[in-house]
Symmetry: D3
């Protein structure tokens, strides 16, 4: 197993990854609501970027958990995806992505759905790589801070 | 709750929905493999079409089950998604979508992943609509045949 | 001229290639019907995959025959493209793609148009490659079965 | 049958419709050449715009003629599509689209393929509409000039 | 001129709009760097969403200022767009969008370019609408807080 | 600094680059008008092709000037982008792109907006390359003709 980068400062941007999108006609089904597959793709992309920022090496999605879609997202809605690392293994990261919807003409904000994505970090020759650990004392819902990455081992 | 169409023959095309796709550069991440979110979107689209053909009314995805992604799908691969109704409720349908990959220069075919999607049929005013029942005696893996749809009730 | 793979079983998936698509707003012109160019692109993609499965080497489209577009395909329609090899030459394949439309709320199915595509197989250095022959006794409309591929010659 | 607009000057832009495109990775197949279906879609779009400019009413493509694809169009090529009305009927227009390719680092320009598209003009209630006639004395390869549109009849 | 919503809490999400994107092959030119036009489109989309969240009515972009593109953004880069309202007029908002790039395997973060977008709020019948004022005492670079929206006037 | 090609005829196609597009639902925001970012992307693409044809080497956009968007461009409009080189430096080119809109059912043509793009030519190792000079005697609004390219120096 290869290691994460030997010398790297704590990543202040690893706490939360935010991705807004506007639902335009090109993203909808013929009912003019956001196509379910598009929502899943946006959630996965947010998780992918979040995990990449966390471990700073190649990552791949190996598992997605169950997702409930409680409401349709009509054309003309602003969608915000917020992704956070909620758990880490030796080379895996569990990322939770929440999808909020904001009708364009209202101030209220609604949690539309949540998905959990498991990603694995890959180093040299696509062998699993070690990832910075999420400190157990951090509330997964708060500001997660990564441990200092290991200093031993050559970077791939 | 509104009913499915009053007079309709058994739908011979409701057994299986097949959707081939070729993985071109426009579908890949920067590792030149099929982006996970694209795979999810294709699986959901196959399920959506399968469920629509089954009940012939508006459908929405309300839940996706867990999905394991066992292997990367490189650029230049043919992908085939096969979706089948495996269970029905009063107004809900459970659709299983399997994603097979065929490297373009080989005859072997590999099951890359499976997803289960729950869709609900909606009729007039988006109220839940009754769907043709999957006969319990049918093997979900074989040729599912829909019951005759109910004859009572006006179509929306 | 290079040969097709030396050892390969008969390809059971070479008979028919099926590709369903749903017509969403992103695929339409401003009349909200499927843009003609999108229909042509989908038909060519189905032919491309069908021919690739047949000969299992690189293929290129060299010719498309005439196509009549008898009816508009409105948003909200399910489209199914069915492609079959109908004739083979030494290194060429003629593929017929039929495009059926199914209005989402009806069980009837209509043949919207047909196109014939000629593709050539390319092997090492993009030289023409030999393709499995379509047996003359097979009805082109039925289950075409490829001859056993030649056993001589190195695979590229 | 409904008429074309009653009062309209000769359309100087009806002679030729030019559409350049650059072939980027998003347009290619996995051989990194322009996907045949994309070429067809671009040619049809150029024809569609050309015909619309000619008759200034809704048009639909009803027929495409044979197309030979003589050469692959690699990533990094500039493509120019030139469309001209070459023949008119009462309500139909035949448009020829030529596709030229210019390798980005060369001054030479090659005609890659030609397609002929037949489009019909539709007026009120989608009934066929009369189109300006292409004058027989004009060389179809030169500057075609439309006859003055008919002055009788109300515009839809 | 129509007013903004009569009763609305201060919008905590109006301070900053963040939009991450990953540069995949589908977004690049044939040099495999982010196509300039894609960068501009992403910056405008971030500004559009930021302005919409600010005034909660329809907005249109009327002007973009000069943009310097100091560096290419290669495939495999994470891009983050951060948009803030920096100035308000009666019905106009000036939004500054910064585009940061993070090479995927590094912790450093670089400001690639900045753009300024002027958007106008439209209310009933597309007449200009009043927008919440940015308080002059706020540093435009810090946490901008909107004034309480006017309480008079019916919402369109 | 590397030179432009040693032997090359005057490029007759360098005067004007024309790019028509039709505004379909896939290009619009949820107000069904052309999304501002799409307009910018199209203008940049026209400038990119124009500059590439001028100097026949790799080009990159380094600066865009101010752009006023005077009117919305609704779905169903034909858009034509016309790009011309208006000024040249040693290795830079200034390209003006005008965007005209033609409502599909009218003969009138309106200049919707203008943008100025500065592009730099790059040769071997991405070092700045010399570009053909725009002759000062040419009206930038008319038929610009490039000077003969320098004959000294090896082509990259």
């Amino acid at each position: 197993m290869s290691d994460a980068p030997a010398s790297s400062p704590s990543p202040p941007i690893a706490a939360e990854t935010r991705m807004v999108r506007a639902v335009f006609p090109g993203d909808t089904n013929h009912y003019h609501t956001l196509f379910g597959g598009s929502a899943m793709a946006w959630m996965d992309q947010a998780a992918f970027i979040c995990a990449t920022r966390w471990c700073r090496t190649k990552v791949v999605t190996v598992h997605t958990g169950e997702i409930d879609f409680q409401q349709p997202v009509p054309e003309g809605t602003i969608v915000e995806l917020v992704a956070r690392v909620v758990q880490t293994g030796t080379s895996s990261m569990q990322v939770r992505t929440e999808m909020f919807i904001e009708p364009m003409d209202q101030y209220e904000r609604i949690l539309a759905c949540t998905g959990t994505f498991t990603l694995v970090a890959l180093g040299a020759d696509d062998a699993p790589a070690q990832v910075p650990a999420l400190r157990a004392s951090d509330s997964p819902e708060g500001h997660a801070v990564a441990d200092e990455p290991p200093t031993t081992g050559a970077r791939r």
